[in-house]
Structures are given as structure tokens and as C-alpha cells.
């Protein structure tokens, strides 16, 4: 449905996107992940034909963004970062305007409006001025706008920003339901969102794609070792070296919280039993012993931070959310 080949975007000297390649199949939901300024919005703007790419081609539903922008635009529902609403119009007036711009017939428009107003829970506010609505409602009006003409491709720039937790869950459900019949690209920097909604994740950093895979595969691929977190009540001075001596443990990191250790072990080897035995026999006061699976968050940080040491710190920090990195 969407094909991006060797897209490069330069603003003067600054290269915002550097030979980006990816594609989205029909019915697939793709998450675009990256720190601020990574190029997520720029990519979306190129796909929606708002701005042309410096080099490369982007195709949506078989139409080239540079050659047939109108055909592309017809097939895309786009929610920009800021919901594109007119404050002086009511929700119903706004959606009518949007429908007419997209050339919907009067009958289709009435039906589509009803569908979206119901789907996004806008029934109670449909005759209120958008300027008087809260951020969450405006965001939903923005989404209604993107969905109004039932486009095969949806491009959503941070769709859940400004919504309360209940609404976030509702919108995620909505996007999940759209999968299958619609191709969706959504950008986010909320990582659980990507895991919850998307089949595939593209991580972009500094204008380059640094990883592209399913959320599970990504964490598996980057996990070069098993990690175990160990909390002791009264560690001894030689705990470090005693742990290191255990078969299969490659490395022992101490966390800033006293008594917490991060053990790095060989892949596919469970050393928990042995560690427990050592801890008990040495009377260190074993409090907690658990494997640490690498979350998407860790993957993300590891990929977008170039300094190896920093990434390691991040993993330690994620074990100990309250503690300072060692």
C-alpha cells in the first residue's frame, strides 16, 4: 500500500531524512518510533504530499506522491501533530467542510459523519464550537476528520497525545479494529503504544532507519545475553566475585541501590537455581531473583543512543526505576 524508496530530504545543509526505505502492506499497522527531531513528521509530510522529497520516490496505493498528488491525497486520511481544526466552526460544521473538500456526496457525507461521530464519541459536542472544546475532544475531532472519507491509508502523527488514559485505550482499540481493512502508519514516542497496536515497528533516529521488525523480534534480536536481577538484604564484600564465579555468568553490575545486582549470563542458560543456592548458603538474605526481559524501551534506547555505555546504564536503570544509574 505504501512504498518508500531511498527518500532523502534536505533542508539546506541539514539532512532530515537519509535514504529511507520501508513499506507497509495492506491492512498492516506500522509504528514509527524515534526521538524528537528524528524525521517522523518529515516522512509523514512527504507521504501526504505536503512537501516533496529531495530524492527518492514514495508511492501510496500505487500512485506516486510527486506525480499524482491529488490521487494520493484522496486515499489518505492524515492527522497532523496539531489537530487541524477551525475554532470558529462547530464539530458538525467542520466535518461537513472536510467532507465537501474531499468531494463526498451529500448522502455519503451524512452517513460518514454519523459513523465517525458515534465511533469517536462526539455525539454530545457535535453542535459546540471547536474552540470551546478540550484538547482531548479536539484530538478526536482531528481523528474523525482523518477517518471521514474512509481512506485505505491512514497516517496519524501521535494520535493519542492529549487524551486521558481511558480515551487512549479507546483510540488504540479503534486503530486495532482498523487494521486489516486499512493500512496505518502512526508515529509515537510512547513505546507501549507501539507494542499494543502495531504489527511492525520502524525505529528512526537522526533521519535513518535503525531497525525495522515486529516488537517481539526487535527485543529478541537485541538481547545478546540473558539478564537477571538479584536483590540481597545483606550482601558481603565478596558477593561480586562469588557471583562472577558461578558457571554461566559473564558479568556482574552493581546498581546504585545497595543490594541490587544485575547479572549478565550466557544466552539460553538459566543460572537462577545456582545463584539462589549460592545466595542462601552464603546467608546474603535473598530477597528477589528474577529474569529481566528487554522491553521495547530498552531496545529503543539502545538503538537511538550511540554511546554503548549509556545504553548499558539505561538497562540498569530500567531494572531499578527509582534508583540512579550506577
Amino acid at each position: 500500500m505504501i512504498e518508500v524508496q531511498q527518500i532523502t530530504k534536505r533542508y539546506g545543509q541539514h539532512t532530515a531524512l537519509d535514504r529511507i526505505n520501508f513499506s507497509v502492506a495492506k491492512g498492516e499497522v506500522l509504528a514509527f518510533l524515534g526521538p524528537n527531531g528524528a524525521g517522523k513528521t518529515t516522512t509523514m509530510r512527504i507521504l501526504t504530499c505536503f512537501m516533496p522529497a529531495t530524492e527518492g520516490t514514495a508511492r501510496v496505493a500505487g500512485f506516486d506522491c510527486a506525480d499524482q498528488p491529488i490521487e494520493v491525497k484522496r486515499r489518505i486520511g492524515y492527522l497532523p501533530e496539531t489537530p487541524p481544526v477551525y475554532q470558529e466552526l462547530t464539530v458538525a460544521e467542520y466535518l461537513t467542510f472536510v467532507g465537501r473538500l474531499r468531494g463526498l456526496s451529500r448522502k455519503t457525507l451524512t452517513a460518514s459523519m454519523q459513523r465517525e461521530i458515534e465511533r469517536l464519541g462526539l455525539g454530545t459536542v457535535q453542535h459546540r464550537l471547536i474552540g470551546n472544546l478540550s484538547r482531548g475532544y479536539r484530538q478526536r475531532v482531528g481523528l474523525a476528520q482523518a477517518l471521514l472519507h474512509d481512506p485505505p491509508v491512514l497516517i496519524l502523527d501521535e494520535p493519542t497525545v492529549g487524551l486521558d488514559p481511558k480515551q487512549i485505550i479507546e483510540i488504540r482499540e479503534l486503530i486495532k479494529n482498523l487494521a486489516g481493512s486499512h493500512s496505518v502508519i502512526l508515529s509515537t514516542h510512547i513505546l507501549p503504544e507501539a507494542t499494543a497496536v502495531c504489527q511492525r515497528v520502524v525505529i528512526i533516529s537522526g533521519g535513518r532507519i535503525v531497525a525495522e521488525d515486529t516488537p517481539e523480534q526487535l527485543s529478541a534480536r537485541l538481547r545478546q545475553s540473558e539478564k537477571i536481577s538479584l536483590t540481597l538484604k545483606s550482601p558481603a564484600a565478596d558477593t561480586d566475585s562469588r557471583l562472577k564465579a558461578v558457571q554461566g555468568i559473564q558479568n556482574v553490575f552493581t546498581s546504585s541501590t545497595p543490594g541490587t545486582f544485575l547479572l549478565e549470563c550466557e544466552l539460553g542458560r538459566d543460572v537462577r537455581e545456582e545463584v539462589a543456592r549460592v545466595a542462601v548458603t552464603s546467608e546474603w538474605g535473598l530477597l528477589e531473583l528474577k529474569t529481566v526481559s528487554m522491553t521495547l524501551e530498552d531496545v529503543f534506547l539502545q538503538l537511538t543512543r550511540h554511546d554503548e555505555g549509556l545504553a548499558q546504564d539505561a538497562v540498569v536503570a530500567s531494572v531499578e526505576p527509582t534508583g540512579q544509574p550506577a
Binding site: 533542508y11 491529488i70 497532523p80 487541524p84 470558529e88 466552526l89 473538500l101 468531494g103
Partner: protein, 255 residues
């Protein structure tokens, strides 16, 4: 419903929801009404003077009232029309709806046309209300309708040109105040070119400069002369300004 009509409907709605049109309209009509009243009173005073001197009074309302009035309205339009046009594109850019508009399946020419036509309709409405004045005057006096109508044609063409300059200025910036000021400045320069032209007198440059200014073209219409040259001037100026607006809107995508 074509996209252009959708844009016109939306813009008109925006104009009449905000107080801008009401304030601008009220001020415009007040000033025009006041000026008309003053010119008529002066004409009346002259008539009385003539009566006393000659016994009969033959005054020309076309010269004493309408020509003066049309000259004055020109200046009022120069000041108020930039206020009407300033929001057209600047506001869209400020509120980030510009991106939405440009990612809708419509051409930029349709956007520019819709925006221009909406403000043009507002202007026609305001101008139409001033039409009450000659109608009332016609009840109590005699005057030649022909130059009044050509004068209105001149105002419509002049207004369209002013508005298209305003559309261009609005497309250039996301700040409405700057948009209003730029269009005011451009129009003032167009006005003063007439003075520059007359300084250079009958040289080729002088004639060209005079031609670029709207002054003599408008003057012809106010005097009741419909010359193709003047119509071409207004319509080509309008087309040029809208074309520039198109280019400016298009170029913002490349930045």
C-alpha cells in the same frame, strides 16, 4: 458541492462568526455615509449660493457628490480591505490548518480562488449597502446614473485588485498584522506610483509607471469612461496577484 464552494462557505462562516466583518463593515458604512452627507450638504450650500446670485440653481450632483465620494472611498478601501484579507492564509498557517488544507485532494488554485472569492463576496456585500445612498438621493434629485454605475464598476474592480494584493500578503506570512501592513504598504506604493509617473511626465518610463498605478484607470471609470485598457489593467493585475499567491502558497511546501 465543488471544493471551491466548500471553501467559500467555510470562509464566509468564519468571517461572520468573528466580529471583524461587523466592525470593519460598520466603520466603512459610517465613514461612507458621513462623507456622502457632507458632500450633499456642500452641494446644497452651493445651490443656495447660486440661487441667491443667479436666481436659478443648476448644480451637477455627479461632479459635486459622486466624483468626490468615489475618490474618498478609494482611500477608505485602501485602509480597510487589508484588514479583511489579512487572516485568509496567515491564520491557517498560525493555527496549523494549512497542512490540512494542502493535504486535501484539491489544487492550490482552488484554495486561492475560494479564499479570494469569499472575501470578494464580503466586499460586494458592503459595497452593495452603500448603494442605498444613490437610491435615496435619486428620490429627491436628478443626476446622471451612467457615471455612478461606471464608478461602482470602478470600485468593484479596484476592490478586487486590493483584495488580491491582500491575499498575496497574507500568503507571505503567518502573522496577520504583518500581512495587513504589507498589503497596505504595497497598495500605497501602487497609489504613489501615479505621482512618480506624473513627475516623469511624458517619457516612456513615466507613462509605464503611471500605467502600473491604479489611479488613472480608476479615474476614467469614475468619470464614466469605460476603456478596454483600464479593464485589462484591473483584470490582469488581479490575475497576476492571484498567480503570485499561488506560487507563494506552493513554495511554502518546499521550505
Amino acid at each position: 458541492m465543488t471544493p471551491v464552494r466548500a471553501i467559500i462557505a467555510k470562509e464566509l462562516r468564519s468571517y461572520f462568526v468573528s466580529p471583524v466583518v461587523y466592525v470593519v463593515g460598520a466603520v466603512f458604512l459610517l465613514i461612507v455615509g458621513l462623507l456622502a452627507y457632507l458632500y450633499i450638504v456642500f452641494a446644497g450650500a452651493q445651490a443656495i449660493q447660486l440661487m441667491q446670485m443667479q436666481g436659478t440653481a443648476q448644480i451637477n450632483l455627479n461632479d459635486l457628490v459622486f466624483r468626490n465620494l468615489f475618490s474618498s472611498i478609494r482611500f477608505i478601501l485602501l485602509i480597510i480591505l487589508p484588514i479583511l484579507t489579512m487572516r485568509l492564509f496567515a491564520e491557517e498557517r498560525k493555527l496549523r490548518t494549512f497542512e490540512f488544507l494542502l493535504t486535501s485532494p484539491i489544487g492550490i488554485n482552488e484554495i486561492v480562488a475560494g479564499k479570494f472569492l469569499s472575501v470578494f463576496l464580503v466586499f460586494l456585500g458592503l459595497l452593495g449597502l452603500t448603494g442605498l445612498m444613490p437610491l435615496v438621493l435619486a428620490l429627491f434629485s436628478d443626476f446622471d446614473w451612467y457615471p455612478v454605475l461606471t464608478g461602482y464598476l470602478g470600485l468593484i474592480l479596484l476592490g478586487a485588485l486590493f483584495l488580491s494584493v491582500g491575499v498575496l500578503a497574507s500568503a507571505l506570512t503567518e502573522n496577520q498584522i504583518i500581512a495587513a501592513f504589507v498589503s497596505f504598504g504595497l497598495l500605497l506604493v501602487l497609489w504613489l506610483l501615479a505621482g512618480v509617473g506624473s513627475l516623469l511626465e511624458d517619457t516612456a518610463i513615466g507613462q509605464t509607471v503611471s500605467y502600473v498605478s491604479f489611479m488613472e484607470h480608476y479615474e476614467h471609470l469614475v468619470r464614466g469612461l469605460i476603456d478596454t485598457k483600464d479593464l485589462v489593467y484591473f483584470l490582469s493585475g488581479l490575475a497576476l496577484m492571484l498567480f503570485f499567491s499561488h506560487r507563494v502558497v506552493d513554495s511554502t511546501r518546499w521550505k
